[in-house]
Each structure stands twice: as structure tokens, then as C-alpha cells.
């Protein structure tokens, strides 16, 4: 073993059980969306696999304490208390955090970080990670998304193209279960879909108007990882729309419901919760990574685990933190960081723009059940013939419609029986377009290890230094104007565009900081998600992204992970790694 200066405290006591006992074929760091997939694929291919999760165990169904609670069982009817807000100024900004879900999120005090520029870092430290609370929108990325960097001379070229990923999208969709319609749109290619959920009349109306008056724009059902049909013993979705609490019907894809049980069924899985990964062990003699250093979150005991292959799936920024903290003679600036790009090019999606309106009509229509997804207006800017001169790339809209409920304030209605009677009937239809803007990779948007602050396990805190730039701001203007224009054309009234002005982070789509590329001088990972110079280490979460597209990214992490796991096992068999 190399004598590495970068060891956790207490490392003298490591491995009382002996090295052999702590040796596996593969180690996966993290159990969220991508870690779960790595675990499943590696286990199913016969590798004895250790999954290290820094948080507590969350067993599917058993550990969803709020899943079947009625709204009136929550003392604040889901509102966060002011004490919670005061203690969690970052977390309480997250749309998904309320009385019914807060146990699946990291409290601000539990893992501090430094903000050189404001960045809201939302985290879920538990088995399953944020796959329990994700939004489940799963559009494929497309050819244009993998080519734009090269064509525009932005950052570096992706080392892969859509065709490299297409079969893997299909592979993960077939297992995960994605509901959606085959719409034939090249900017969000069709996949292996379960039947689509139904559009409401208001949505069909909007679709017809937009598609007629704005050639090139389409309104489709969002492809969503909610099971419109049962698949692989899970689901179907019961249309409760309480997904973020965990689903007792296994109605949506999560690591807990899907990939981890599959991994466990092979008999090859060892899952170790409360395992904070300190760093990757790189052996300078063997010129390869040989294992990981782990600190037990409960006992603070340090242990080393060894394996032939390591997948880091710690969720973008924690993946990069681990790599930056993995120093050796060969990699003094962090694992795989010959390029100096490790920690750089942090991206998010810009969700700050929204446009709402109301529609008078269709009063004879309503819905039964709570559809856990909405409609989607795919990217149309800088696509086909629709060229912009004021910004690069594009955006999509999430388009959400419903009839106003009791929670509208009817000021003009007299108090008493009349108010009560009116509020017990639904109001007008309302629709909101939420812009989902691509964010360009910029070297200046970066993370680094704090030189002064450490976390409770003695690991340097992460210092985040990033903000939206000129291109994102120019795009925002168009997001607001185009959304208003479409609602107006479709006959909506009271149209209100709004820019929330949030800092980066609240898209909860951290991407980049260990990008894929074609050259070790300008990127951290190669086209198979191998770390340059430590080829038995793979990174397949959001850290790997070379650009951000405007589609929701998790499905792409799944596909990259399955592809990389397949490659890793073939290389192991050939003894190439």
C-alpha cells in the first residue's frame, strides 16, 4: 500500500478484519440513481459488489413513514415551520421539501459547504439518494446535445454521440419503466415507452393552438418514470401524486424500488450504509486505484476497502469532492486531474422563468386522479431553422395545467355560505409554463476543496463558486417572452411572466466538474467514463457531463452507467483494467 499523506484520522486502526475480508470485485460509491444502476449491472454480471452509501439505510416501503398519511395528519398541513426555515436557509428553498418529505433531505447543519457565490446545494444522504425524491421526468438527450460543443467551439467535444447511447437508453428504459408517447421528435428521441398518461382537454387545446401557430413547436406528454402499466413486478402507478414520500405501490422508479432489489437478488450485493468515502486509494507502484478509504459516519472509524474496479456515483459534487481529496504522488491535484479541469465547468438548469395564465372555458371538464406528471414543450430554439443571435442553445418548458381548487382567494365573494359553496367547486383552468434552460459549461463555474474548513469527518468542505452567466440571462428573456406569446395565442388571460432570480443549484441538476472528453489534457474522463490515468475508476453520475442540454438528466446518467458497467466488465475479463 502506498503511504499516502492524505489519510483520514484514525487510519492507523484500519482493517482489523484483514485485507481479504475487505476486498470485493467492485466498489460503487453512492446508491442514488446512477449508483443503483452500477450496483445492478455489476452484480448481475457476476461481480461481488460493495455499495457504499454515506447516509442511513432506507428500505423500500418499510422506511417511507409518511407515504400513506392524510394531509390532516400533518400539524402544519405540509408547511415548513419557521424554525425549520431558520435552521435550513438553503434546504427550505427546495420545492420538494415539506413536512412529508424533509426526512429524505440533508439538513443545512449536517453537511456545511462554502458559497463563494450563492449556490443552493440540495442533497439526499440515504440509501436511494435523491432517486426517492426526484421529479421523474425522463426525456432522452439527442444528437444536437452531443454535437453543440464541437459546432459552437464551447468547452470540449463530447467523446460520444447519441448513437453510442441510444441502445443504452433503450436498455434502461425497458427496466426502469418510462411512460410516454412516441412523438417522432428528433430533439427528444422516442424510446421504449409504457403507454402515455392522458392529456387533459386544456392541454389538447394548448397543443393544437401552439402547433398550428408556431411551426416547429410541439406539446407532448412528458416522458416520466411513473409506471402507467405494471413492469417487472412493480406498479402500476396509483395516481396519488405523493411520489416524493416514497411509493408503497412501487409506482415510480427509484434505486430502492428497482435497481437495488435487482442487485440484491443476485446474491452479489453488499450494501454498507453510514459509509462516508474519504478518498480513492491510488497505488503509485501499481499505477492503479486499488480501493477506497471509508469513515463510518456513526463510529468515525476509518476502514479501507479494495476492489478491481470502482464506480464513483456520489452525485456530481460529492463525486468531485472525493476525487479532489484523492491525492497521490501521481495525482497531486486530485484523481484524474492531469488537465486541471477537475472541479470546473459546473452546470445546472435554469428553472427561474415561469409564465402563468388562466383560461375561461372547458368548464364541463375535470379529471379523476392525480397525474404525477405534466406536458412538455421540447426545445425549439437554435434547432432546425429557428436560429437565435442573442444566445446559444435552447430551453424546454414544463407545462402544468389544472383547475383552480379551494386554495384560490375569491375576494369578491361574500363571507359565509356563499364563499364556502364557491370554494367547494373548482375554479377556472390555469396553466403555467416553467422554462428549463440549458446552462453553458464555463471554466469559471467551479468547486474546490476548502483550505480552512473541514466537515465532521475531517474531510475538507466543498467550496462552490458559480453563477448563471450572460447566455443564461439572455435566454431567460426569451423564455419569458415566448411563453407569454404562446399562452396569449391560445386564448389565455391574466398572463404573468416571472423570473424568480434564484441562484444556481435549485434546478438540482448539478452537472460537470469531472467532464468526459477526448483528451486527458482537457477532460477528466474518457468516452467510456474511465478516469484518465486511473482506468479502473469510472464516474457515471452528473459529474461526467460535458454539456448540460435542456432535458432532465437522470435518464442519461442511467444510460451512461449501464454502458460503462458493460464496458468495465468486458475490460476486466480481457484483463485490460
Amino acid at each position: 500500500m502506498d503511504e499516502n499523506e492524505n489519510k483520514p484520522k484514525g487510519a492507523a486502526n484500519i482493517n482489523a478484519g484483514g485485507k481479504q475480508q475487505n476486498t470485493y470485485d467492485a466498489i460503487v460509491v453512492g446508491s442514488g440513481i446512477s449508483g443503483g444502476w452500477a450496483a445492478k449491472e455489476l452484480c448481475e454480471k457476476g461481480l461481488k459488489t460493495l455499495v457504499l452509501e454515506r447516509g442511513r439505510n432506507v428500505e423500500h416501503i418499510k422506511d417511507y413513514p409518511t407515504a400513506t398519511k392524510h394531509i390532516w395528519e400533518f400539524p402544519h398541513r405540509l408547511s415548513n415551520t419557521k424554525q425549520f426555515v431558520a435552521e435550513n436557509p438553503v434546504l427550505s428553498k427546495c420545492y420538494a421539501v415539506d413536512e412529508s418529505t424533509e426526512h429524505f433531505f440533508v439538513k443545512d447543519a449536517e453537511h456545511p459547504y462554502e458559497q463563494k457565490r450563492p449556490f443552493d446545494w440540495i442533497r439526499g444522504y440515504q440509501v436511494g439518494g435523491k432517486s426517492l425524491t426526484w421529479a421523474r421526468w425522463t426525456q432522452r438527450w439527442s444528437e444536437v446535445d452531443f454535437e453543440s460543443n464541437l459546432k459552437e467551439g464551447i468547452a470540449v467535444d463530447w467523446p460520444i454521440r447519441y448513437k453510442d447511447l441510444a441502445p443504452w437508453y433503450s436498455y434502461v428504459e425497458r427496466f426502469a419503466g418510462i411512460s410516454g408517447n412516441r412523438d417522432g421528435l428528433s430533439q427528444v428521441p422516442d424510446g421504449e415507452f409504457l403507454k402515455p398518461m392522458e392529456m387533459m382537454k386544456i392541454e389538447k387545446h394548448l397543443k393544437r393552438k401552439i402547433e398550428k401557430q408556431f411551426p416547429g413547436r410541439k406539446l407532448i406528454m412528458s416522458r416520466t418514470a411513473n409506471l402507467s402499466e405494471p413492469i417487472n413486478g412493480r406498479g402500476p402507478c396509483q395516481y396519488r401524486n405523493l411520489c416524493n414520500r416514497g411509493c408503497p405501490f412501487s409506482g415510480y422508479f427509484s434505486s430502492n424500488a428497482a435497481t437495488l432489489p435487482a442487485a440484491k437478488a443476485t446474491g452479489n450485493l453488499t450494501l454498507r450504509p453510514h459509509s462516508v468515502v474519504h478518498s480513492i486509494i491510488y497505488d503509485d507502484q501499481k499505477q492503479r486505484a486499488v480501493g477506497v478509504r471509508v469513515i463510518d459516519a456513526l463510529t468515525n472509524e476509518a476502514t479501507e476497502y479494495f476492489s478491481k474496479v470502482i464506480f464513483i456515483n456520489g452525485s456530481t459534487l460529492n463525486t468531485t469532492l472525493i476525487m479532489l481529496n484523492s491525492t497521490s504522488a501521481r495525482f497531486p491535484n486530485g484523481l484524474g486531474n492531469d488537465s486541471g479541469e477537475l472541479g470546473h465547468n459546473l452546470m445546472d438548469h435554469n428553472y427561474n422563468g415561469s409564465i402563468s395564465g388562466i383560461f375561461e372555458g372547458f368548464e364541463d371538464k375535470y379529471y379523476y386522479g392525480r397525474r404525477p406528471t405534466g406536458t412538455y414543450l421540447p426545445r425549439f430554439r437554435n434547432f432546425g431553422n429557428d436560429k437565435r443571435t442573442d444566445y446559444l442553445r435552447g430551453f424546454a418548458y414544463a407545462v402544468i395545467s389544472d383547475r383552480q381548487g379551494w386554495n384560490r382567494l375569491i375576494n369578491e365573494v361574500p363571507l359565509g355560505a356563499e364563499l364556502k359553496s364557491q370554494l367547494t367547486e373548482p375554479g377556472v383552468w390555469s396553466t403555467t409554463l416553467v422554462g428549463m434552460g440549458e446552462c453553458l459549461p464555463s471554466h469559471d463555474n467551479k468547486v474546490a476543496l476548502s483550505k480552512t474548513q473541514k466537515d465532521q469527518w475531517g474531510i475538507p468542505q466543498l467550496e462552490i463558486d458559480a453563477s448563471f452567466g450572460k447566455n443564461e440571462h439572455a435566454m431567460m428573456k426569451d423564455i419569458l417572452a415566448s411563453g407569454a406569446e404562446m399562452l396569449e395565442a391560445a386564448g389565455f388571460k391574466n398572463i404573468k411572466p416571472k423570473d424568480s432570480g434564484n441562484a444556481m443549484g435549485l434546478g438540482i441538476h448539478e452537472m460537470g466538474t469531472a467532464r468526459m472528453g477526448r483528451d486527458s489534457k482537457t477532460s477528466v474522463l474518457n468516452g467510456n467514463n474511465q478516469v484518465w490515468g486511473a482506468e479502473n475508476v469510472f464516474v457515471t453520475d452528473g459529474a461526467a457531463m460535458t454539456s448540460g442540454a435542456c432535458q432532465n438528466p437522470s435518464l442519461t446518467y442511467m444510460a451512461l452507467t449501464a454502458r460503462a458497467a458493460d464496458f468495465a466488465v468486458r475490460e476486466l475479463k480481457k484483463q485490460n483494467i
Binding site: G369, Q404, K498
Partner: protein
């Protein structure tokens, strides 16, 4: 809640057309001052755990709520114990400034009653209560229409909002006045609606 639903709701909230949990989230989210934060984070300075409102204040608010949403063919706000609900929400979610507005509002409402009817609110008959609160409602509407969104609310707006939230998310409100289903089991995006059909309690 669906992510985009949540975003959509926040967007609607900004337009001032919607109230509900998000509104309270927003009042909860008002940036706390350093002193407030320090007080909250220092267990020694924590507010005493005694009830925020006493039984007679809660009874008073039950009657205010019942006037806003009375018993009709379905139970009213009092049956949903909105007084106790308001006490919890104001204690746990309101900023100290809003707590003061709300508490002072209890006194002011009582003074209005004395001034107009020469007796306290609890002694008024149903018609008098409705007339008094209707005047207050007009007052808060006028104030709200002319002030900045982040300006302090009228106390009666708080009481009205809390009554609506407390009632329609209560068991009696959700299941008797509205339609409620924890597990719908299927989805139909286009069912017929006729006047008089009830709203779904949850989204």
C-alpha cells in the same frame, strides 16, 4: 407534490391569486433576522412550550372561522377546529412581526365589535358576526390591492387564509365539503363536470 406542480404553484402564488400551504410557506420563509435566527438556534432562548393562544382565544377563532365558512349541508370551520389550527400555525410558522399583527388583530376585532354593537364578538348573533367580518374583509381586500406583495398583511386576511387552509385540509373539510381520495387508483384526464360537483381536496 410533482416538481413542476410546485413550481407552478409558486408562480401562481406570486400573482396573488392563490393561497394555501405555499402562502404559509412564504410567510414561513421570510428571511429571519440575525437575532431571530440566533434565538431559534439557541435552545436556551427557545420560546416556552406553553400554548400560543389560550382556550378562550381558540374558542374566539373557532367562531371567526365558523362565520367565514359556516355549517351548511356540510360541517363548518368550527367542526374542523380551525381555532386550534390557527394557534399552531401562528406559533410555528409566522414571523414575530406577523404574530404581533395576528395577536393585536384579536383585540382589534373585539374592539370593532364593541364599537359597532356595544358587545363582544362572542355575544353577537350570526348575522351581526357576518356583517362585522364582511366589513373587515372589504378592508383587507382594499389594503391588499394597494400594497406591495411583501408588505405586512391585514390581520383579517391572515384569519381568513388560515380558516380556508385549516378547514379544507382537515378531515371534515376534505372529505365532507370536498372530494378526497388518498389512492385514486387510475387516471382519467377528461371526466365530465357539472355545476355543483365538488373540487378535489388535494392536487
Amino acid at each position: 407534490m410533482n416538481r413542476r406542480d410546485a413550481l407552478a404553484r409558486v408562480a401562481l402564488l406570486m400573482s396573488g391569486t392563490i393561497i394555501g400551504a405555499d402562502l404559509f410557506l412564504s410567510s414561513c420563509s421570510s428571511p429571519a433576522s440575525k437575532e431571530q435566527k440566533a434565538a431559534l438556534l439557541d435552545p436556551g432562548k427557545k420560546a416556552p412550550s406553553t400554548p400560543f393562544l389560550n382556550a378562550s382565544q381558540i374558542g374566539f377563532l373557532d367562531e371567526v372561522g365558523e362565520t367565514i365558512l359556516p355549517t351548511t349541508s356540510t360541517p363548518g370551520a368550527k367542526a374542523a377546529q380551525v381555532g386550534s389550527f390557527m394557534a399552531v400555525m401562528v406559533r410555528d410558522c409566522y414571523t414575530p412581526a406577523n404574530q404581533k399583527i395576528f395577536l393585536d388583530g384579536l383585540t382589534q376585532l373585539e374592539q370593532r365589535s364593541q364599537k359597532r354593537y356595544n358587545q363582544g364578538f362572542m355575544a353577537l348573533n350570526a348575522a351581526q358576526r357576518t356583517a362585522l367580518l364582511t366589513a373587515l374583509d372589504a378592508e383587507q381586500n382594499a389594503l391588499t390591492a394597494h400594497q406591495r406583495p411583501d408588505a405586512p398583511s391585514h390581520y383579517f386576511r391572515m384569519m381568513k387564509q388560515l380558516t380556508l387552509l385549516g378547514y379544507f385540509t382537515s378531515e371534515v373539510g376534505a372529505t365532507k365539503a370536498l372530494r378526497y381520495q388518498l389512492v385514486p387508483g387510475r387516471y382519467n384526464g377528461n371526466i365530465p363536470y357539472k355545476k355543483g360537483d365538488k373540487t378535489w381536496a388535494t392536487t
